[in-house]
Subunit: 347 residues, 2 copies
């Protein structure tokens, strides 16, 4: 079936669209009472991720309830390390995800195996197929994965960290082991993203959430070659690479063959555009703007749209929406983008 | 008495020095077995901070054992919110510091009072006097404080955070309360830094560790006016402002009347220099470089020195040294800087 709203796909193809498409990271649930109602019936986050019917339902909620121009599958970047052999735990209301076992030495690598997406991540692919069908062409469906460095951070540290110094220590002190682990993650990620496209994903995003922890040398040596491989070997859907905190590497990211690059709220849009003149840029409103009044949200959204200028832009926040944001402010953000019809276009 | 090694003070005065001075953030102890020997006899970190004789001893250790060109008083940025009325807890080996009580509303502000440095922070001033005397002019003594936004983060959130979204929420949703709290921190900080100079500090550093969480608007509205006030009202010693992660604001920071600006390892040195042509720049080796081999440490140090070029540079890491770094690698870093005598100068 043909898409009724293909704004995102046309924008990522570099076409001049009548207005920028708009969606949010972590939009799938989190802020919506309707999402919390589902969550409250379950044992936890993992049950939601692993039950395709439920993942499908919460993926579609923001399309219905917020009016975004794309759905992003409800899942987690940590499903890939789990599929590789390191299960994660997420204890509700206790804290962030944790890996009871981590990779600290060559012998720990024995815990890992190659990923067959059908066998190890079938529940995600099932959710993707079901969601694509349930969306019925209303908006495109986005798939995603974590970038190798970001997944590496969790596999080495076992949980969150401010500076990821243990992960960076491995890059510095055991480069061969680090390269091996990064390569295995890269291969799993390529297989996983291609399988997502086969299961129905119409666009993809790669989250390099901790790219900002690396200096230029480490970024160049460890990150760039793997991002390049993913961009070159994932086929069939446009790809957005979002390397949060790595604005200083935007000129390097601009050498990738992906269609879009994410921009966080730290770097000025003009600097991002200068460094990446030929990519569609996505972002970049500070999510905390949505804590302000509706008038403030609308004014800040207008400033952002004006900073990006016409075309080559996917409107989004500069990171995921925070769970305690009032959904009405999210709607004001989305509405403000939608009202921004280019004069000669159609809203 | 006159200083035997006044490299840091001459460099901060803008003089061309025979080589860059070198010191490290968190150098006071942490990596040294001699420091751990003292710590193991104590109930915890706070006992060390609050006992002037011990703070003095660990402050001087890196001068003797590592050969740095400056001593930085062993203390913590959280002594200021504690002096204002919010005590912090630091439970050994359990986790990062926590504030059992935080500021979430106007009524919470009743917990706070103005800071009289002699009355509320006398133990720091006592340690400063003792250390200045014990150093006996070998190297300059650096005092420090957290910047208002960074202290605000801890007072609002109660502990560490990745994105400080609750602190940013207060800026967006309760601007008057946020301004009031930031102003009170600013006033306490000015009084505290001036008292440190009176007690013997010969240079000062202001740590804005979480400046990178703010977008340009929030940085301009909430941070810049307070940094400016501190730079203008603290007298008697050169000041280095280190706004970590805020490299995109370097052109704004360059309008401050401080002598030095810290540079983290994320932004290229050339970009920092372009944005702040008239300030002494301090930094910026990625601390994780010190996890590598001695040859790698020396090579990376050489590249950094060459990036900064001649003069207007204080050699340092781009952030604090990690506790599990081998002290020999720290010595290699320091030694490499010291060997970098400018041809016409004296090493």
């Amino acid at each position: 079936m043909s898409l009724q709203n293909d704004l995102l796909l046309r924008a990522l193809a570099g076409e001049q669209t009548e207005r920028p498409p708009v969606w949010l990271m972590r939009q799938a649930g989190r802020i919506l009472p309707e999402y919390r109602a589902i969550r409250s019936r379950l044992s936890g986050f993992k049950e939601l991720v692993k039950t395709p019917e439920l993942a499908c339902e919460v993926t579609i909620q923001p399309v219905d309830l917020l009016g975004v121009d794309a759905a992003i599958l409800f899942s987690d970047i940590l499903v890939v390390p789990e599929a590789m052999g390191l299960p994660y735990e997420l204890i509700e209301k206790v804290g962030p995800p944790r890996f009871p076992e981590t990779i600290g030495s060559a012998s720990d690598m024995k815990r890992l195996h190659a990923v067959d997406p059908e066998e190890h991540l079938g529940y995600v692919l099932e959710a993707m197929k079901m969601t694509r069908s349930a969306l019925d062409g209303r908006v495109p469906l986005i798939g995603f994965a974590g970038a190798p460095w970001t997944i590496f951070c969790y596999m080495v540290e076992g949980g969150g960290s401010k500076e990821w110094s243990r992960a960076r220590r491995m890059l510095r002190s055991e480069p061969a082991l680090a390269e091996d682990l990064l390569d295995r993650i890269t291969e799993a990620t390529i297989a996983y993203l291609n399988a997502q496209v086969e299961a129905g994903a119409q666009a993809l995003q790669l989250f390099d959430s901790w790219a900002g922890a690396l200096d230029a040398d480490l970024f160049e040596r460890y990150t760039m070659p793997r991002l390049k491989r993913i961009c070159d070997e994932v086929k069939g859907a446009p790809l957005i690479v979002f390397a949060k905190g790595a604005g200083w590497q935007m000129d390097r990211l601009a050498t990738l063959s992906c269609q879009g690059l994410g921009v966080d709220w730290h770097m000025p849009v003009s600097e991002a555009r200068m460094r990446a003149p030929h990519h569609v840029l996505q972002g970049n409103l500070d999510p905390s703007v949505l804590y302000g009044t509706e008038a403030e949200v609308r004014a800040a959204t207008q400033r952002m749209l004006s900073d990006f200028g016409r075309g080559m832009h996917v409107a989004n926040l500069g990171h995921g929406v925070y769970p305690d944001i009032n959904p009405d402010r999210v709607r004001a953000f989305i509405d403000e983008v939608k009202q921004n019809a280019h004069s000669e276009g159609v809203n």
